[in-house]
């Protein structure tokens, strides 16, 4: 099959493009997929994490995947973060100062994810934080990673990537798993048929969980509070449900197709001059 991808930004249109790719390729097995970038004029580098989820599902059905018609600029973006390493374009030996590389983890590799944050987050434009707040921020990112382990049971792993755009004054980080989606596990756990957006809305309330043998419900509160003050953006796409929190405005919508996993996107406004801390800072949380 030849599939012509459209633009993929860190927004609902981008997730719709990837969900459509997933739906269109859902039935192919023991075959091949040529993913053409001929119709792509923009691809946000961090969005290779959810693209990795879609392609992992395709590859898991004994297909081969090739990426074709890459313009020079796109090839440069996707090769620089290591995404094209498995597609004939080796990853660079030096990641450079703006890349959080594309890495696929097993869901049991939380320790390695923290190593990743330690290694690649510094120097990427994060606002000033006390060391305590920085640890709590990293703790929250890890909680999101661990949700994949505890809830999604993503046997294909967790995909992480990020990109710092100094000129645009933003840092984008994506974490994507290929497991059971949030609406899917709510409906399975409670034996109900809740619409996807409603299910995601329910799951975002602190204390709500689908875990049966131990309490769960780790909220996204610290990141949410941070984004509120920072002016960044926070998104979750899972199955057909999409949620975005941007400039204090919350938006839910239903995607045209199922995204086969869960993606959490965090966009940090890097020109933020506030200092974040637990106490005695300009912004306390």
């Amino acid at each position: 099959m030849i599939y012509k991808l459209t633009n993929v930004g860190s927004n609902s249109d981008g997730f719709n493009a990837l969900a459509t790719l997933a739906a269109t390729t859902n039935d192919i097995e023991y075959s091949s997929l040529e993913l053409s970038f001929a119709g792509v004029s923009w691809f946000d580098a961090n969005m290779v994490a959810p693209l990795g989820v879609v392609l992992a599902h395709v590859l898991d059905r004994y297909n081969t995947v090739s990426i074709v018609d890459l313009a020079w600029g796109q090839k440069s973006i996707l090769q620089r973060n290591g995404f094209l390493d498995g597609f004939g374009y080796p990853a660079p030996t030096n990641w450079g100062g703006t890349v959080l590389p594309y890495i696929r983890y097993k869901i049991t590799e939380a320790h390695r994810f923290y190593d990743y944050l330690d290694e690649y987050l510094p120097g990427k434009g994060m606002p000033e934080m006390t060391s305590d707040f920085s640890l709590r921020f990293q703790q929250s990112l890890g909680e999101i990673f661990i949700n994949s382990q505890v809830h999604s049971n993503s046997r294909l792993g967790v995909f992480v990537c990020g990109q710092f755009y100094p000129a645009k004054q933003r840092l984008d980080i994506s974490m994507a798993d290929a497991g059971i989606t949030i609406p899917g596990r709510i409906n399975r756990r409670f034996k109900i048929n809740m619409p996807p957006v409603k299910a995601l809305r329910w799951a975002l309330i602190e204390g709500h969980t689908t875990k049966q043998d131990s309490p769960g419900g780790v909220g996204l509160k610290l990141i949410h509070d941070f984004v509120t003050l920072n002016g960044g953006c926070f998104q979750i796409a899972s199955g057909r449900a999409f949620w975005e929190f941007h400039h204090g405005v919350e938006k839910f919508l239903e995607l045209g197709h199922d995204f086969p996993g869960t993606v959490v996107n965090l966009e940090v406004y890097t020109a933020d001059k506030k200092s974040y801390g637990a106490k005695k800072s300009s912004v306390e949380m």
Partner: protein, 118 residues
């Protein structure tokens, strides 16, 4: 009177991070028989620089599903946890208690939401 048994998290997780629910399970399995035997336990986080709620939920929170709340509160004490992780511990304990007091609470709540919609 028996001396409390000290369990060092770092010995069981093999490093400075308590970030894996499976590691939390190891701690849970270590603590539970001691509490059941009536031994006081001190769970030491000395040397631990990162803790997440999923770990605390399995290491400590699950105890509330097996033993009475007051027994866990009385016999298990946490030591040397960095103050910045104290809110995570408090939240984990609070949610665990609420969860095990009424495990069907969430089922009821979500059914009510569905009923509201109809």
């Amino acid at each position: 009177m028996n001396e409390p048994i000290i369990i060092r998290v770092s010995d069981l997780v093999g490093g400075p991070r308590a970030v894996d629910a499976a590691d939390g399970e190891k701690i849970f399995e270590k603590i539970l028989p001691l509490l059941q035997d009536g031994r006081d336990v001190r769970l030491s986080f000395e040397g631990i620089s990162m803790v997440i709620t999923a770990f605390l939920n399995t290491a400590i929170g699950k105890l509330y599903g097996v033993l009475p709340e007051d027994q866990v509160d009385r016999m298990l004490k946490v030591k040397n946890l960095l103050p910045l992780f104290q809110p995570s511990l408090e939240k984990s304990v609070e949610w665990s208690k609420a969860y095990y007091r009424d495990p069907e609470r969430l089922q009821k709540a979500i059914m009510e939401e569905l009923d509201d919609e109809e």
